[in-house]
Symmetry: C2
Subunit: 344 residues, 2 copies
DNA sequence: GTGAAAGCGCTAACAG
DNA sequence: CTGTTAGCGCTTTCAC
């Protein structure tokens, strides 16, 4: 069509999305052959494959994965649900998981659920309606309705960041109560008798700080403050929480914060008020965010191998998806460890 | 099947995913009616709708959006591509965008491209193959191949975080060079003549710091250091960069960092070496992360309305998708502003 | 207000 | 190695 006006494109391109039949026609083969060139190249003769590939390039063909998924009943996509990505904690897991899955040919559909439980079921419906091949979901506290929907989707499920007694399917996480107990042990070994906590109000954070408090209690310690702030954690919330406790911090105190953000805030506020850290106030955070190692003073925190968790979760999912062997139990306790730095 | 063993479920549920025909049969209507109850309830009599809804609940029916999408040619899904979510900058935009889109019935498929350009085209192919109804993509620097693929997908596209001269379609962002110039003006007004920059090596960060440096040069300032670190920015990189510049910081110096993380690192390191801030070293960051306001000293930074950007982007996309009026030009300069705090 | 027929673009299964 | 046939589960279109 040389009279169609000054089109910027030298080659002619169809306005409508190119489909497999267009490629097939141009290459002079059947649509099925085109499909094979894309999905199982080894089952096509090199000569034919070459022809087809030229046609694909020439037309700029992008296969419709929606149609393919409907036909093959595999979407080559997995859904992931986390409360937020603002938190380095989840960001690491997701990044690693995404990379590993993409390498295996799966795309990750990431959804943010927020901390409210208000419309999690609606979110799940929207997600599961797209027929993901697997589901990654943060936390182990779900409504009965949510659990039922997930179960009935009959896909592999990995719950991350939590290890509960009644897993839906597979789990990669750790026991938050163990963390609290471990931190308690750590402080007790240093001779602390007075303690405080600052915690976000999400279930996992509370588990960590409350089990810490209980362990301290059992050991005869005395609580001088248990502050709870709204999730997600912020530095400011940590500062304010510490400011509120300041009057009670008359003696050497051990503080456990449910997040490094809170810990950093607490330390910042303490120093502003000339409360010696770690002389008067010992602080342990959680998460090993970059902040904990790179700020001055670097502060003690609990490190959880988030990247490793993402890797393991991807491994679990892929093993189930590629169906090697029987339906294996997937269960992994992500190791955690206290990293002692300058604030204890 | 009463002899099938002790099933935990009281009600009988099909092992195979239930489909629209199952619901239709149970409700005694045609599949099409079920479809209408779900998508256009007002075109169904209340009585019929009630019957159908009971059947849906009873069977736990979750509509297959893949099939629906293939048929209707609308996936009710939009794809979003950002380099990383570890950065509060992008996290904010994405969070807002996702919320706004979900409210309108669209799910957001979020993908992380990383900072390397290695396989962005492959990523785009995987994304566009799922036939998203729209595309949100960070940055305006794309390979010709990528641009072509995007163009040929014939969907609304919003480039965020950048405003370039040759937009693919719509844009929501700001001119990074303007930011640099503005910061230069700010420092010049305070009588600075010596300056330095610390920048991540991604294109946008470099634009900000280089235009700052040029403006300072033009005003007769002298550069005592231009440090570049690998993206993404970290606090540690900021500390190291500053440490490297320390020998040259013999007089009052103005430092512009391409990210608040770098700025915080620089300030931390400067204080460690007893370099007075802001006496000897004035620092301005970028991004207005919580850290900039909540650390001590709170530091001067450039605030960009990320949340607003996400909102505007969603508005652009939705307006195009719902097709109100003609194909409008979408172009929005996100406002930015220097927030002066204790480090300048 | 409801239903029947046709087909979205692709791939599984089977032939050749 | 390649092609043909028959759907995947839903919605569009048109008829009633």
């Amino acid at each position: 069509m040389p009279t169609d006006g000054p089109g910027p494109k030298p080659t002619e391109r169809p306005r409508t999305p190119v489909k497999i039949t267009d490629v097939a026609t141009l290459a002079g083969v059947a649509p099925m052959t085109v499909s094979r060139v894309i999905n199982t190249p080894d089952r096509v003769s090199p000569a034919t494959a070459a022809k087809v590939r030229i046609a694909i390039d020439q037309l700029g063909y992008v296969p419709n994965l929606i149609a393919g998924g409907l036909s093959s009943r595999r979407s080559r996509m997995v859904a992931a649900v986390v409360p937020t990505i603002a938190h380095p904690m989840f960001a690491g897991v997701i990044q690693t998981f995404t990379d590993a899955m993409r390498l295996a040919g799966y795309e990750v559909m990431l959804s943010l659920s927020g901390y409210g439980e208000n419309d999690k079921e609606a979110l799940l419906r929207a997600l599961l309606g797209r027929r993901p091949d697997a589901l990654l979901i943060a936390g182990a506290a779900h409504t009965p309705g949510a659990i039922q929907m997930i179960t009935e989707s009959h896909i592999p499920v990995v719950e991350i960041w939590d290890v509960s007694s009644r897993p839906i399917d597979m789990q990669v996480g750790f026991d938050h109560e163990e963390v609290g107990q471990e931190v308690a042990r750590f402080f007790l070994a240093k001779g602390h008798t007075r303690f405080a906590t600052i915690s976000a109000d999400d279930p996992r954070a509370l588990q960590r700080t409350q089990s810490f408090a209980q362990a301290m209690h059992r050991a005869g310690g005395i609580v001088i403050g248990e502050s709870t702030v709204k999730a997600p954690s912020t530095i400011m919330a940590g500062r304010q929480a510490l400011a509120g406790m300041l009057p009670n911090m008359t003696e050497r105190t051990a503080l456990f914060c449910s997040s490094d953000l809170l810990a950093f805030g607490a330390i910042t506020e303490a120093r502003k008020h000339c409360l010696a850290v770690p002389g008067r106030l010992s602080v342990c955070g959680f998460g090993n965010f970059e902040l904990s190692a790179a700020s001055e003073p670097a502060f003690t925190t609990v490190n959880v191998e988030g990247a490793e968790a993402g890797q393991i979760a991807a491994g679990f999912v892929l093993q189930r998806l590629t169906g090697n062997g029987p339906r294996q139990e997937g269960h992994w306790h992500v190791p955690f460890r206290i990293l002692e730095r300058a604030t204890t």
